[in-house]
């Protein structure tokens, strides 16, 4: 999310699936589009049938490669070299879209001269690196900041010095909080401190030769891709990128996405039809779970969560610290106050800071991996796993299973008795005797879950489209929806604390919790099932009545707001998730749930579902027009300025102030949206520009630089620094003080032990198959799916199989520093050894779907994966680590 968010202003996909039909060149990288998103892939195939080229760059030849016009092999984890070389190609050969770059990106902006002319060039550290920072190294970002017109330098959004920077940067930092004067620019792009020149210098060492050496991609293949991409970009043509978790699951994952984001800006492919970057999400509603959200470090709609690491004492302090003075996010206080009104209703008043103090302050990284480290080391007592199966899906899964064994209690709510529910009797650690069932004191509660067809609700798909689904049947027996469980848990807790006078219980007592009864009058067979539409109403937001609750219209219906434009910071509106506002409205006296809309057409299908924000399908679509408001070309028309009507119009909902003319001048001093000109398409960003260079938002550098995966068989050939110098390394120790991962000796990447790649010489990447879903909890129990991919395997090339004397389908032992598993070898020429300069590197692949329960069982690939993570988002490096393989004798 920060990859796209820092570059463009929002973490969501910039485009929509149907728009892929209009692309001239589809680049799929870090994704196995056809296998894991088969329904969306139809739009890629439609484009191909109209002559578009499909390029697939991947460690393995997959079902996506099978359909591609051009396939390039690549070593897992070397993507920044490949993409950086594309940037270099585009700049050196002057194939960038100059008018777009000058007007719509920060190419012309001047950076603090302290950034220096030859940053990172040899050592691999950006300016501001603090190797001795506690507890681990970090960057001071002051030298990355913009120069101001007044001749100074802006203040960056930085956490207070001296506090442990264990959390990711806030959304405010991603959109930018530019404090201190309008940015200074050089539209000729000649100033050595301008972003364009910095970019040019930074990527000059990323050459086709380097690609061959580091990625293992033949130089000619690389150049053919570079030419194809450049030939299909410009006013008349557009190219699109699609990626998925094979970019995110790296210690440089966010920067991989940033590299592609920069490239797409240079080529002028953002906000234009057939262009963009599609973030393919790994679950049906993973976008929704970040929007609403289930993350520990953001509040709904990406509002920054209060933290002890900044001055977030009062609501005023919080606004002072987090509100960008310029750009659309300057409206943030309206959304925050409306959120507090939605959560605490009448108890949220101006006098008590709208109950801001009820919100917990985070004090560190509480994402999945550190949570399990805490559990492993005995600091977490209870855990609820709802629709999650960490015993199989977790990294270093053996450690995670042992962590479960140290809990007092565990709730598992799922369709089947998953591995997480039965770890105490069937885990490999129990089989091996490492854990004894009798010694495990964890009390496990299993709640059967209702399946999707048994629940009302919505999905937010990969391109921010919210689609409603109605329940088709009642769940069997005791199975209930997650909403049912959560609602009644909350209800019981509220009752339990109803008479408490302890101030710390006030948040629970004052929490609004009114979801029974259906606004549309549907009859529920399960009488105490809460109403999903009531939840959606609250997500949308309403006007607040005199009693502090939802105001009612004369017809008795709730007076819903029409969109986030109606929200106020004075307590007169309540809204659960501001970006979704507008989804549920009253039209002509009737509730209209726009997520229910099902009117499709040949293209944007604005009448199908509801895409946040404001039903816009292609974000930043003002960039589909020239600065003067006319389309770049007839062929690539999307949104344009209608001079007669004095409005933006087109095939999509304009992602721009509807009546702001292209000629509008920026007035920085006025702030807010007035600080943007009528030519600034990236409305969320503080300066309205797409960020080639990121003065804030990414904690590991303003530009992407290649570092090797944390476990890699080769030295970094681009810089002296081998791995991302602020990688997150987790070092869980068991009760005896032994490390769960013998190489994770230190949380400081400059000090941690380096894995012995003589012992573990093969690069492995993990992945999913079409036939299964994630840990298999929804697929391995179904015979029709189980028979299609019945057994765990490791894919390897015929050459490696020959070297190791392994025959197809023979059992092998696969070892990493975390442990060993056994599975069958699937020998296939779809995997090929990489020729990298003088060396040959073998790569293997393992699907992640198997565990010890279900209709088909097998070893879990995640048992072998490392507990290291990207410093921006704490996402593990599941896509590139090292293993050894031998025949099971």
């Amino acid at each position: 999310m920060p990859g796209l968010g820092t570059s463009y202003g929002r973490g969501g996909a910039t485009t929509f699936l149907m728009d892929l039909q209009r692309t001239d060149c589809m680049v799929v990288m870090g994704s196995n589009f056809a296998e894991n998103h088969p329904v969306g892939f139809r739009f890629v195939m439609k484009a191909q049938q109209q002559g578009a080229k499909l390029i697939h760059i991947d460690p393995r030849f997959t079902r996506t490669s099978a359909l591609a016009d051009l396939y390039a092999p690549i070593r897992a984890g070397s993507d920044i070299v490949f993409l950086g070389a594309l940037i270099n190609y585009v700049i050196q050969n002057e194939r960038y879209f100059k008018d777009y770059v000058v007007n719509y990106t920060n190419a012309a902006t001047l950076i603090n001269p302290a950034y220096g002319s030859h940053n990172v060039d040899d050592d691999g550290f950006f300016t501001g690196f603090q190797p001795d920072a506690k507890p681990t190294p970090r960057y001071d970002t002051q030298s990355w900041q913009y120069q101001t017109e007044q001749g100074g330098v802006q203040q960056g959004n930085q956490p207070a010095q001296g506090t442990p920077e264990t959390t990711t940067s806030s959304f405010s930092a991603r959109v930018g909080q530019l404090l201190g004067g309008a940015p200074r620019t050089d539209p000729t792009l000649q100033d050595p401190n301008c972003v364009f020149q910095i970019l040019k210098r930074h990527y000059s060492r990323y050459t086709p030769e380097l690609v061959e050496e580091v990625c293992g991609t033949p130089r000619e293949t690389f150049l053919e891709i570079a030419r194809t991409l450049a030939d299909n970009s410009g006013p008349e043509r557009t190219a699109a990128f699609a990626y998925a978790v094979a970019w995110t699951q790296h210690t440089t994952g966010v920067q991989m996405i940033r590299t592609a984001s920069i490239l797409q800006l240079l080529l002028g492919n953002i906000g234009r039809p057939g262009g963009g970057i599609l973030a393919l999400r790994g679950h049906a509603t993973i976008q929704g779970s970040t929007d609403v959200p289930t993350l520990y470090n953001i509040l709904p709609g990406y509002l920054p969560i209060p933290t002890v690491q900044k001055n977030h004492e009062t609501l005023g302090d919080y606004f002072a610290a987090e509100t960008p003075p310029t750009g659309f996010f300057s409206n943030m206080p309206k959304y925050m106050v409306s959120l507090l009104k939605s959560w605490y209703g009448p108890a949220a008043t101006r006098e008590n800071d709208y109950a801001f103090d009820y919100l917990p302050r985070i004090n560190g990284d509480h994402s999945h991996l550190p949570m399990f480290v805490d559990m492993y080391e005995g600091r977490i007592k209870g855990f609820m796993a709802m629709g999650q199966n960490p015993a199989v899906g977790g990294q270093n899964a053996g450690m995670q299973r042992e962590a479960l064994a140290r809990l007092d209690w565990l709730v598992v709510k799922d369709l089947f008795l998953t591995e997480t529910a039965t770890f105490w009797k069937n885990a490999p650690e129990v089989q091996s005797g490492k854990l004894k069932t009798a010694d495990i004191k964890t009390e496990v509660f299993f709640f059967p879950a209702a399946a999707v067809p048994e629940i009302d609700g919505s999905y937010t798909n990969t391109f921010r489209l919210v689609q409603w689904h109605d329940k088709a049947a009642d769940p069997p027996e005791d199975a209930r929806s997650d909403m049912h469980f959560t609602y009644h848990l909350g209800d019981r807790l509220k009752k339990l604390y109803a008479n408490s006078t302890d101030p710390k219980d006030r948040a629970l007592r004052d929490m609004t919790w009114d979801y029974l009864g259906d606004p549309e009058g549907h009859e529920f067979t399960i009488p105490d099932e809460p109403s999903a539409e009531k939840v959606m109403e609250e997500i949308n937001g309403w006007k607040v009545g005199p009693d502090g609750k939802a105001a009612l219209r004369p017809d008795g219906k709730i007076d819903l707001v029409n969109g986030f434009g109606d929200l106020r910071d004075d307590g007169s509106t309540a809204c659960g998730v501001w970006i979704y506002s507008g989804i549920f409205t009253v039209r002509e006296g009737q509730y209209v749930n726009a997520a229910r809309n099902r009117k499709a057409d040949e293209y944007a299908s604005l009448g199908w579902g509801y895409a946040w924000p404001a039903n816009r399908r292609a974000l930043y679509n003002r960039a589909s027009a020239k600065p003067d408001g006319t389309p770049w070309s007839e062929r690539k028309k999307l949104v344009w300025w209608d001079a007669g009507a004095q409005r933006w119009t087109g095939y999509d909902v304009p992602d721009f102030i509807a009546n702001k003319p292209p000629t509008a001048r920026a007035d920085w001093a006025k702030g807010g949206m007035d600080a943007h000109a009528g030519t600034d398409p990236f409305i969320m960003k503080a300066d309205g520009k797409g960020w080639l260079f990121a003065p804030s938002g990414t904690v590991d550098g303003p530009l992407p630089a290649h570092y090797e995966p944390y476990e890699s068989p080769m030295q970094n050939r681009v810089y002296k620094q081998h791995v991302n110098p602020i990688t997150k390394i987790y070092t869980p120790k068991n009760a005896a003080g032994e490390l769960a991962n013998p190489y994770a000796t230190d949380a400081n990447p400059l000090k941690a032990a380096v894995v012995d790649t003589q012992k573990f010489p093969y690069v492995v990447t993990t992945y999913r198959l079409t036939e299964h879903h994630l840990s298999g909890a929804m697929s391995r129990w179904l015979p029709w799916l189980a028979e299609l991919q019945p057994e765990m395997f490791i894919e390897m090339s015929p050459q490696l199989a020959k070297e190791l004397n392994i025959a197809n389908t023979e059992m092998v032992i696969v070892e990493s520093p975390r442990g060993r598993i056994e599975c069958k070898a699937l020998v296939t020429p779809r995997l090929q050894p990489l020729r990298m300069g003088a060396t040959i590197q073998h790569q293997v692949g393992m699907p992640i779907h198997w565990g010890y329960e279900g209709e088909v069982t097998g070893a879990s690939a995640n048992d072998l994966a490392a507990l290291v993570a990207d410093p921006n988002v704490s996402i593990h490096e599941g896509k590139a680590f090292v293993v050894n393989i031998r025949k099971k004798s």
Binding site: A34, E35, P38, V39, F41, R42, M45, Q49, F61, R63, T64, S65, A66, L67, D69, Y71, L769, T770, E771, P783, W784, L785, A786, E787, L788, Q789, P790, E791, F793, P798, A801, A807, N808, T809, K824, L826, V827, T828, P829, R830, E855, V856
Partner: protein, 275 residues
């Protein structure tokens, strides 16, 4: 009005949604759980309980890198050998011009299994000869077959055979004219004048293919009186690129598949072998 399938293998992404939709609609059991080692194909061949089967052919030799996928199915032959040999009249031609086995009439004599030149029929665990019905029950209710409905890429197209043939012929022209050299070899298998299936009058379920029929386990010249000598998928494997690997491939034992479900092992074909 003849109804049929046009299966365009160039649009297949091997997702197997068709196999699953077929099994779900027709309530067919899974056939057992064993890794075949033959690419991503773990269901092996068409049978009494697998009526759609997605083939995967890896071709990575002599500088080419190609992974062919094709969803195979009963061909609903214009002149159907199975129907002609059926002694009980269990096999009929429906009002949709499809070939349908009436399960309550079939006595399990296996004559049709021997007669089918494509090896698509097998007995189910109850000993009844079974194969794709072209979703006869769905057709009678105005619905398209489950596989065509579920295919996300329109690789499986259902409709009037005449109309499908015209569409398929246009598609072949487009593919051959395209810049992609892999498509120069596109052709139709199972339409009038194709040079392969004349003797049985063509197929109501026909395919657009890129390589020769044998690569997909299809006979070069299916005959009315001929016998299937090899199960269809086996042909594909023998000629497939895996041969080039020199790797041992063990085929799953058919009987074992049914045993796992508690059904009877019904065939005598020994399919465990080293290549």
């Amino acid at each position: 009005m003849a109804k049929g399938f046009f299966t365009d293998s160039t649009l297949c992404i091997g997702c197997k949604a068709c196999e699953v939709a077929c099994k779900q609609w027709n309530r067919l059991p899974a056939d057992g759980y064993a890794l075949s080692g033959n690419s991503y194909d773990n269901t092996g061949w068409l049978s009494g309980t697998t009526w759609r089967h997605v083939q995967f052919v890896e071709q990575f030799d002599a500088g080419q890198a190609r992974w062919l996928m094709n969803s195979d199915v009963c061909k609903h032959c214009v002149q159907a050998a199975c129907l002609e040999v059926c002694p009980t009249g269990a096999i009929i031609r429906t009002e949709f011009d499809t070939v349908y086995i009436q399960p309550d009439v079939c006595n399990g004599c296996r004559d049709c299994i021997a007669a089918c030149p494509f090896g698509v029929i097998e007995t189910n665990p109850d000993g009844i000869a079974q194969k794709c019905t072209l979703c006869y029950d769905r057709l009678q209710n105005g619905l398209e077959p489950a596989c065509a409905k579920s295919c996300p890429t329109e690789s499986i197209q259902f409709g009037e055979v005449d109309e499908l043939v015209a569409r398929a012929q246009a598609r072949v022209q487009t593919l051959r004219a395209s810049a992609n050299p892999a498509y120069k070899s596109a052709y139709l298998y199972g339409v009038p004048g194709d040079g392969y299936t004349e003797e049985i009058g063509g197929l109501n379920a026909f395919h657009l293919l890129l390589d020769t029929p044998d690569k997909y386990g299809l006979p070069e010249r299916p005959k009315l009186g001929s016998r299937a000598t090899v199960p269809s998928q086996l042909g594909g494997v023998l000629t497939g690129a895996l041969l080039a690997l020199g790797a041992a491939i063990s085929f799953r034992n058919r009987g074992a598949r049914h045993d796992r479900d508690g059904g009877a092992a019904t065939t005598t074909t020994t399919t465990t072998r080293e290549v």
